[in-house]
């Protein structure tokens, strides 16, 4: 799109800026504050500076959780994005089934995250849960409370169950927003279904897919409640992702200094990866 230069457009953006800045800037100061200072019981703050950051970045423990986190996020992205897109492509566009599909698909998204964790906790239990019992009945030796592999499987499955619909809804809306003229032109040109997907649908979905990928990336990178309730980070520390570790550090050891530093590092990682991804996706846009 050829955008025209217009500084007055800032006025349109101003309300957004005010709301978000009000919420973002003030609290941010507090967090930054904590991360470079050390708290003592009697509120004596001392300047610890860079030391905390160094400790965090060099710790084995941090790197391990980061590694697990990256593995987890990569896994769910690889599953959820193509799956969501495929489902959106296969969904009906007209007729009574549209409402049924949309409503049913939206349900997993609406459940509070601690309930999601709890229900999957029971659902996947080998003795008393529908899935756990079912898998064991089929011959699998499934126990997510003991076996890290099973724990990973359950978490990934839970996340896919929980969040794929977000991708589906975004992609579906994106598909529906493609004007009919394009499909007509493609028909007239004799294009195959694959050509329609490759040359019309996929390009037009680029923005929507970018949003879906960024959202899922960020949210999965910060995942806490569901995993905490489901496995608590275990068995052992096999499913201790970054957030869980962060909370253990902050609350368990009540060390706000390292916790603050960890938060900042955490934030910067997400920021960097998101920015890289965003730039890559938008690189072809003629601005």
């Amino acid at each position: 799109m050829n955008k025209t230069v217009n500084q007055k457009a800032w006025l349109l953006v101003l309300p957004v800026f005010l709301f978000v800045a009000f919420n973002a800037i003030i609290p941010l100061m507090t967090v930054v504050n904590y991360s470079v200072q050390e708290t003592f019981g009697n509120n004596i703050f001392s300047w610890s500076g860079v030391q905390w950051f160094q400790e965090v970045l060099q710790s084995e423990r941090f790197r391990a959780s980061l590694g697990r986190q990256i593995a987890f996020t990569a896994t769910i992205l690889v599953i959820e994005i193509p799956l969501g897109l495929a489902i959106a492509l296969a969904m009906p566009r007209k007729g009574p089934w549209v409402s049924v599909c949309l409503v049913l698909m939206a349900l997993p998204l609406l459940i509070p995250w601690n309930v999601v964790g709890s229900m999957w906790n029971v659902f996947a239990l080998p003795e008393i849960g529908l899935m756990g019992r079912g898998l064991n009945a089929l011959g699998f030796d499934f126990n997510y409370t003991r076996q890290p592999g099973d724990a990973w499987f359950t978490i990934v499955l839970m996340d896919v169950w929980h969040w794929t619909s977000l991708v589906v809804l975004l992609c579906y809306a994106g598909l529906v927003a493609i004007p009919n003229d394009y499909y007509q032109a493609a028909k007239i040109d004799g294009a195959s279904a694959w050509a329609v997907f490759r040359f019309i649908q996929l390009p037009k979905l680029k923005r929507v897919l970018t949003i879906a990928i960024l959202l899922r990336f960020m949210d999965s990178f910060m995942i806490y409640t569901e995993v905490q309730v489901l496995t608590g980070g275990g068995p052992g520390s096999s499913t201790t992702f970054l957030s869980i570790d962060l909370f253990k550090v902050a609350l368990g050891q009540f060390d706000l200094g390292p916790a603050g530093a960890m938060s900042i590092v955490y934030f910067l990682i997400i920021l960097l990866l998101s920015w890289v991804f965003y730039t890559l996706m938008m690189r072809n846009e003629a601005k």
Binding site: P179, Y182, A185, I188, D189, A286
Partner: protein
């Protein structure tokens, strides 16, 4: 290329049409000659897009048939009918180059690579796209994209008809003229049946050999631009075409002759003057003179006393608005000719004065 016959076509968007108002397209029969350039002209909502979509196959008619060269195409899909369409908003394959865009329809039909290359370059040359062949289609301006759309229709040698759905809407005004001329030139060169839908009379009149004027779902008149101008079959055509449009004045009958405000008005059609219905005199501003000015019309034409009220300058001529009692009559006066002020006499050219009954031309 094909001759298109529209046979007693009627279309309603509602499921069970009962009354005449339910039909978006009233019954019509039309013949479009092979290789002709046609325009479907009319205001928004007149049914021209409906008719276009029926011909292209995007809609199935409620009643009636459409024949391409004597074959009923009612059951055929758009691609089976071998049509090409240029849409109002440019439709191109953004991720492909211009070359690939043009080659796309041929590739899908399994044409050999060498042949594809030849055709693409030929069409690109015709449309002045050769310089941009290697560029990504998304980077072109709106007129470039429309040319690509047109090109995709032209590369196929088996196209029956090319349809244009208000294609110049998004084009910059100074480029509209260029594209219009290009389209006309193209048609003269390749002689394919082309149907051009628009609400802009200039586009229709410059492009088409014959214009189908539509209003409220009906075909009002089919004719060449000259016919539409000189002998509008309906007062609507008179208003819609021409700038400013035709003057329509209420008419009474005195001793079997048409009169306006007591003045006898000789009309072109003349012989049978109906006695019922709402009668109107129609005359275009181009065919009215001030008494004494320009070519004398002799005593044959009507002579109407008026009051000159307004003069507008339109470049090479002036649009003069006059009033006879409460009726407004407009005429065009060439640059340089004198315009009386205050009271004046208008002369109507009898060859171009028409009588209309309930809107329709008499005679």
């Amino acid at each position: 290329m094909a001759r298109i016959l529209i046979d007693q076509l009627r279309h309603a968007y509602v499921q069970n049409p009962q009354r005449p108002e339910d039909y978006a397209l009233k019954e019509m029969s039309l013949e479009l000659a092979d290789g002709g350039a046609y325009a479907l002209l009319g205001p928004s909502g007149c049914g021209k897009t409906t008719l276009l979509n029926l011909i292209s196959g995007l809609l199935h008619p409620t009643e009636g048939r459409i024949l391409f060269d004597n074959t009923d195409v009612g059951q055929l899909t758009p691609e089976q009918r071998n049509i090409a369409q240029v849409f109002q908003f440019p439709v191109v394959y953004d991720t492909m180059t211009v070359y690939d865009n043009l080659a796309f329809p041929l590739k899908n039909r399994g044409v050999a690579q060498g042949e594809i290359d030849k055709r693409v370059r030929e069409i690109a040359d015709m449309l002045d796209l050769t310089q941009t062949l290697h560029k990504r289609a998304s980077g072109l301006t709106a007129d470039g994209k429309q040319k690509i759309s047109l090109g995709r229709g032209l590369v196929r040698s088996d196209v029956n008809v090319i349809m244009f759905d208000e294609p110049l809407t998004v084009i910059d005004p100074h480029l509209k003229w260029v594209l219009r001329s290009k389209l006309k030139e193209l048609h003269t060169r390749i002689r394919r049946t082309m149907i051009y839908v628009t609400h802009d009379q200039t586009e229709a009149l410059t492009f088409a050999d014959r214009v189908v004027v539509m209003n409220l779902g009906e075909v009002v008149q089919v004719g060449t631009p000259v016919e539409l101008f000189e002998r509008p079959a309906h007062t609507f055509v008179g208003h819609f075409i021409g700038s400013p449009g035709m003057n329509a004045l209420p008419c009474a009958l005195e001793n079997g002759r048409p009169t306006f405000l007591g003045n006898t008005v000789p009309v072109a059609s003349g012989i049978e003057v109906p006695h019922d219905g709402k009668l109107e005199i129609g005359i275009r501003p181009e065919f009215i003179r001030f008494n004494g000015a320009g070519t004398p019309l002799g005593d044959a034409g009507a002579s109407i006393p008026v009051e000159v009220t307004k003069v507008a300058d339109a470049g090479r001529f002036r649009i003069v608005e006059t009033r006879a009692k409460e009726h407004r009559i407009r005429l065009l006066v060439p640059e340089g000719d004198p315009i009386p002020s205050g009271a004046a006499q208008l002369k109507f050219d009898p060859k171009h004065t028409h009588l209309y009954r309930d809107g329709w031309l008499v005679g």
